[in-house]
């Protein structure tokens, strides 16, 4: 799965999160920060991660989620890493 494809999938997830600023979803990049750029409430990050697990068919380790950063690249990397682990 290409990196851009995962980012597009993340955007699709964010479209379902009503507390995210929807107007800012058009220009999502690796560098976009959920907290500072999208104004996502920090508590929602775990819901986004849960949705990502479902969408991409993976199950994250609790340690990985505890260490997860708040940028898009962080969750994209985690998805790729988890998929590679199989």
């Amino acid at each position: 799965m290409e990196r851009r494809e995962i980012i597009d999938g993340i955007v699709e997830i964010l479209k379902t999160v009503r507390t995210v600023d929807q107007e800012k979803l058009a220009n999502i990049t690796d560098e976009t920060d959920f907290l500072t750029d999208l104004k996502t409430p920090s508590t929602e990050l775990i819901n986004i991660a849960a949705k990502a697990e479902q969408k991409f068919g993976v199950e994250f380790e609790d340690d990985d989620l505890d260490d997860l950063g708040s940028k898009v690249e962080d969750i994209v990397d985690l998805i790729i890493r988890t998929k590679e682990k199989g």
Binding site: T43, E44, N47, A50
Partner: protein, 450 residues
């Protein structure tokens, strides 16, 4: 300590009421002697597993709300407010009851005419609570973890804020950005009135200038089932409209209902100075406990002490007593006799709003307080629907040697209990509510005559 001469006005009200879109419809239906109780399809869906089938319930659709549960099964991910009254960030931390509470708070503030600077002040507080424990949210979360074996995070991240005991006050406080007291006082079915009483004291004692106060009970089949399991607590065997029948000889339990009642309170002189419409003035609040060690059975002496505390030495006799009047066999008889013991047999009337919409549990006291405000405004007494036959015989407890109360049967007090709304000059109303654990609350409310 009370500040002598400092008074507390009610300047706004709002909430959620079964089968009613708004306060206007609630007012219209109540004062035309209608019942808001329906057969509940959810209760019926369990067949013989539930004893009672009627309720004064409110659906999400009726409140223009929709639950979104895209990944969490039965657990709400969030709610959508179809009328855009509540921002998404506040909906995400709320259960249904908290949303009703926020809507009631917004309605109350609009009616009160408070500016943002007044709301977002350290002199403005919130005291709102419910009786239940967020059961509708807890059940699917626990089922997800314990029965389905899913990870805790698949219960969603809002289990705590949606079920913590003071969730309604917290959500109102976050929505309004008030800076004063924010807390919940819970006392079972006296919760609604108890929170208004506590808020009254905070203003009366000079600790706050304005308060949002009240009680909530969100529609929850889980809460309904808890009461249904007690067998003799909920009403059964009558049509929905006849199920709640306080004081009637054939009453056999209360109707488990849901709703929200929120009011805006303000220091009286402040409200008058800005030209606010005064819906009523709270003259006194008193609460106590039975002290007899009984969790459920009401206490005549506890209620005697309640009346003494409420009326003090002022010889104030209310024109109307808005009773707790649940339609349970034990509670109603003790309550009617304690009212008669305190006020005599004439020159006042008894109103039992639960006869029209059932028992709203944590919301009962505050929604019924709103009905008292409406009685003051309309100058009409709300009825005791279905109080068709009063017991012509003495209650069993009246036949015991230890009984110190009135020695006449309930039927002797027929004239106090109107079965239809009627016109009356009403200057003051006593509001009574009690709860499991032997807790008793009373407010004396009067019309503003200035």
């Amino acid at each position: 300590m009370e500040i002598y001469g400092r008074k507390v006005a009610v300047v706004g009200m709002g909430g959620a009421f079964p089968t009613c879109k708004n306060l206007i419809e609630f007012n219209q239906k109540l004062f035309s002697n209608q019942s808001l109780i329906r057969t509940w399809d959810q209760a019926e869906s369990f067949g013989e597993r539930t004893r009672s089938k009627v309720s004064g319930y409110i659906t999400e659709e009726e409140m223009d709300l929709e639950m979104i549960n895209s990944i969490l099964g039965e657990i709400p991910e969030t709610y959508i407010d179809k009328l855009n009254r509540i921002p998404a960030i506040n909906l995400s931390t709320s259960d249904i009851g908290s949303i009703w509470a926020m809507l009631g708070a917004l309605e109350s503030i609009k009616m009160a005419g408070w500016e943002n600077s007044e709301v977002q002040s350290e002199h403005t507080g919130v005291v709102v609570a419910s009786c239940g424990s967020g059961n509708a949210i807890l059940r699917p979360i626990w089922n997800n973890f314990f029965e389905l074996g899913k990870k805790s995070r698949l219960g969603g991240v809002h289990g705590v804020d949606r079920t913590m005991t003071y969730r309604e006050a917290a959500n109102i406080g976050c929505l309004l950005k008030t800076k004063g007291v924010c807390e919940s006082i819970t006392s079972a079915c006296a919760t609604g009135l108890g929170n208004i009483g506590h808020a009254y004291r905070l203003i009366k004692y000079g600790l706050q200038e304005r308060m949002i106060a009240g009680g909530v009970e969100a529609t929850s089949i889980e809460s309904f089932i808890l009461f249904d399991s007690m067998r003799v607590v909920l009403s059964r065997g009558f049509s929905p409209q006849e199920s709640s029948r306080p004081f009637d000889l054939n009453r056999n339990g209360f109707v488990c209902s849901f709703g929200a009642g929120i009011v805006a309170l303000e220091e009286y002189e402040s409200a008058k100075a800005r030209g606010a419409k005064i819906l009523g003035v709270i003259d006194e609040y008193f609460n106590n406990s039975d002290g007899d060690g009984d969790m459920f059975y009401p206490s005549f002496t506890g209620q005697q002490r309640l009346w003494k505390g409420l009326l003090g030495n002022n010889n104030r006799k209310p024109d109307v007593v808005k009773v707790h009047g649940t339609s349970t066999p034990a509670g109603d008889a003790i309550e009617l006799l304690s009212v008669v013991d305190a006020l005599g047999k004439k020159d006042f009337h008894i109103s039992a709003p639960k006869s029209q919409f059932g028992h709203m549990l944590g919301a009962a006291g505050s929604v019924e307080f709103i009905t008292a405000l409406m009685m003051l405004d309309n100058q009409k007494v709300l009825p005791c629907l279905n109080s068709t036959n009063l017991n012509p015989e003495l209650e069993n407890f009246q036949k015991t040697d230890s009984w110190q109360g009135p020695k006449e049967p309930l039927a002797a007090f027929r004239d106090l209990l109107p079965q239809q709304t009627f016109d009356k000059e009403i200057n003051s109303i006593a509001c009574l509510n009690y709860g499991f654990g032997g807790t008793n609350s009373a407010i004396l409310l009067s019309k503003d005559h200035s």
